[in-house]
Amino acid sequence: MPMTMNRVSVPVTVDEDACIADKGCTVCVESCPLDLLAIDLLKKKAFMKFDECWYCLPCEKDCPTQAIRVDIPYLLR
């Protein structure tokens, strides 16, 4: 069955200058109850991989360098 990739704006933004995933940090990846964040293996920075957010905020609160910002998803903003 043919498929397409739809673009969506995701609610979680990572400040790549502040993110220390390149030093081995995975705190946000571990704290997400829905397992939506991942580390980009080329950039070595965290990013939102799946748009399935509950905007619950553990990723933002637990980040040791305050690199994460969670916005309300556009559909309900």
């Binding site: 498929m3 997400c32 109850p33 829905l34 991989k49 799946f50 399935e52 509950w54 905020l57």
Partner: protein
């Protein structure tokens, strides 16, 4: 057998609220037992209280309330259909649990003398205890898990329970959600603590994960219990909550009520006497929402500045702290405007209503070796404190059962069937994406199951669900994460079918909006003063049957019986 990844005495599935308590209490009961806590996310931040909780909704504290009063209140709020023994068991243990949590470091609001500062929100009694610093709840639980030496297994989901040849518990079959591999955990007893079926209806925003409940709670435990042959109860008594329009946080009359906030219509007038969530209250809410004075609002703009500041601090730092951001985006300040409210999508949840897996006062289900606690266990209106208390009962019961039973043999045939079902989407590269199947399924849930419940609509819904069931085999998963979502779609579909069949079975109206059958608008105590149970029969079909309500242990006065039917504010007729 190569599939077996662990052998334990007690397996607790779900590490949110009830689960950690069950695991700790099983270990305390018998420290020699091997107790494993299995969690789909990470127990540090999982479940309905990942960001904590702003208060206890049902604290039974001496001097403010008695267990007998509480049992009466819940019996009336749940329209009489209550196994009072289960509610009484909770009520009697409620105060001990609060004291234990207090010792563990949970901060409750206290008055100047050091007593718990309980507030009145319910129609009859006084049970609400605020936790303005409740955001640390998961940390408190995690410390106890470590102290009790519970084995924690994160990022695994249970897909089916494993049974022995007599239909008793033998363990669970699981999926590693990071690796996409299948495995078996052998266990003597299992405790289900997987929370509500929160991803059943589709929020009106259309955003799949914008649900009231944490959307990771897809109804896993309802489906696990059902396929293991357990009885479920009151599934037709849906969870429907008053929420902030578009935002999935509760309108929080529990927080704002004691400060003077209230639910109002568009004229700013109060229309319900009591903001405690019940089906009867939701019916009045629904009528006002759809009527000429709608929509409905949460009104706080009449309160003093310092009061509003306190409310903001509680609401914007606990439970659903992103709500402050939502209001900011809509340019709403509690000081000026009223908060527009709406009705949530439907779900199954005993923590808020009464839809759940049937348990007795020891948290035992009808399957030997299987226990349940928290939002999915049918003890009406149990909320967070009830999850802790029943988590304790379940952990202790499961420890006793494990102590007196051997580890059952693994039935290779069950494992083989399940391995095929679970891994199928990985070998289907051109199949249906799970998110598309889920969207369609949940849109049908809204179209056909949402109250007011209409017989023909629910029957059409069942036809659509059967078609989607045929589609399940064609789902495709591109990675382990999508495979987890695909298996959740199976759970959601099971819950949707249960919701339709249980609702069709009870041919009367009860619990206000939760079970409003348009063709049967009246309550019919002659035929339906009973629990409606649902289970998988020996032929593998979904069946419903009646279970009588056990004789009450606390009798109700006639005046009390009717209390929740008189929630609408009565206006004095104006003189002509």
């Amino acid at each position: 057998m190569s599939d077996v990844i662990a052998e334990v005495d007690v397996l607790v599935i779900g590490g949110g609220t009830a689960g950690p308590m069950a695991a700790v209490k099983a270990k305390e009961k018998n420290p020699k037992l091997k107790v494993m806590l299995l969690e789909k996310a990470n127990v540090k931040r999982s479940g309905a209280i990942s960001m904590g909780m702003d208060g206890l909704n049902n604290a039974v504290i001496p001097g403010h309330a008695t267990p007998e009063q509480y049992v009466k209140e819940i019996t009336v709020a749940n329209d009489g259909i209550v196994n009072q023994k289960t509610v009484m068991a909770y009520a009697q243990e409620s105060f001990n649990m609060i004291n234990q949590l207090d010792r563990w470091g949970v901060k409750f609001e206290k008055d100047e003398t050091g007593d718990y500062a309980v507030k009145k929100v319910h129609h009859i009694g006084t049970y609400v205890l605020p936790m303005p610093e409740g955001h640390h709840m998961k940390k408190v639980l995690y410390r106890q898990l470590k102290k009790a030496r519970v084995e924690i297994t994160n990022r695994y989901m249970a897909t089916r329970l494993l049974l022995d040849e007599n239909g008793a518990i033998a363990g669970a079959m699981v999926l590693d959600t990071r690796e996409g591999t299948f495995g078996v955990i052998r266990a003597k007893s299992v405790v289900l603590c997987t929370g509500a079926a929160g991803r059943l209806g589709l929020p009106s925003s259309g955003y799949l994960f914008g649900t009231y409940e944490n959307p990771t709670n897809a109804g896993d435990g309802y489906a696990l219990a059902y396929h293991a042959g357990a009885e479920l109860s009151g599934i037709e008594c849906y969870q429907i909550n008053p929420l902030i329009k578009d935002y999935n946080g509760p309108s929080c009359a529990y927080v704002t009520g004691p400060f003077g906030g209230y639910t109002a219509n568009s004229k700013g007038e109060r229309f319900i006497e009591c903001d405690y969530w019940s089906g009867q209250m939701m019916m009045e809410f629904y009528k006002e929402l759809e009527g000429g004075n709608g929509p409905v609002f949460l009104k706080m703009n009449h309160l003093a500045e310092e009061t509003i500041g306190t409310i903001e601090h509680i609401l914007h730092t606990n439970e659903r702290p992103s709500r402050g951001r939502f209001h900011e985006g809509r340019h709403l300040d509690y000081r000026q405007g009223m908060v527009e409210m709406h009705i949530s999508e439907i779900g199954l949840c005993s923590g808020h209503s009464a839809s759940g897996v049937w348990v007795d006062e020891h948290a035992a289900t009808t399957v030997p070796g299987l226990y349940a606690a928290g939002d999915l266990a049918c003890v009406p209106h149990n909320y967070m404190l009830g999850a802790f208390v029943y988590g304790q009962f379940a952990g202790q019961s499961a420890a006793d059962y494990a102590q007196s039973h051997e580890l059952p043999a693994v039935d290779a045939a069950q494992v083989e069937v399940e391995r095929k079902r679970v891994l199928a989407p990985l070998s289907n590269p051109d199949g249906l994406p799970p998110a598309q199947v889920e969207y369609k399924l949940r849109r049908f849930v809204n179209d056909y199951l949402q109250p007011p419940k209409v017989t023909k609509k629910m029957e059409i819904g069942l036809d659509r669900f059967a078609e989607i069931r045929a589609d399940l085999a064609y789902m495709s998963a591109a990675n382990p994460h999508e495979l987890m979502r695909a298996m959740e779609v199976h759970f959601i579909l099971d819950c949707a079918e249960m919701a339709a069949r249980a609702s069709l079975y009870r041919t009367e109206s009860r619990w206000g909006l939760y079970h409003y059958r348009v063709e049967h608008p009246e309550k019919d105590d002659a035929d339906w003063f009973c629990h409606a149970q649902l289970k998988k029969n020996d032929a593998g079909e979904m069946t419903c049957f009646k279970r009588p309500v056990d004789p009450y242990i606390v009798e109700l006065d006639d005046e009390e019986k009717d209390a929740y039917n008189r929630l609408r504010v009565v206006k004095q007729a104006e003189a002509a």
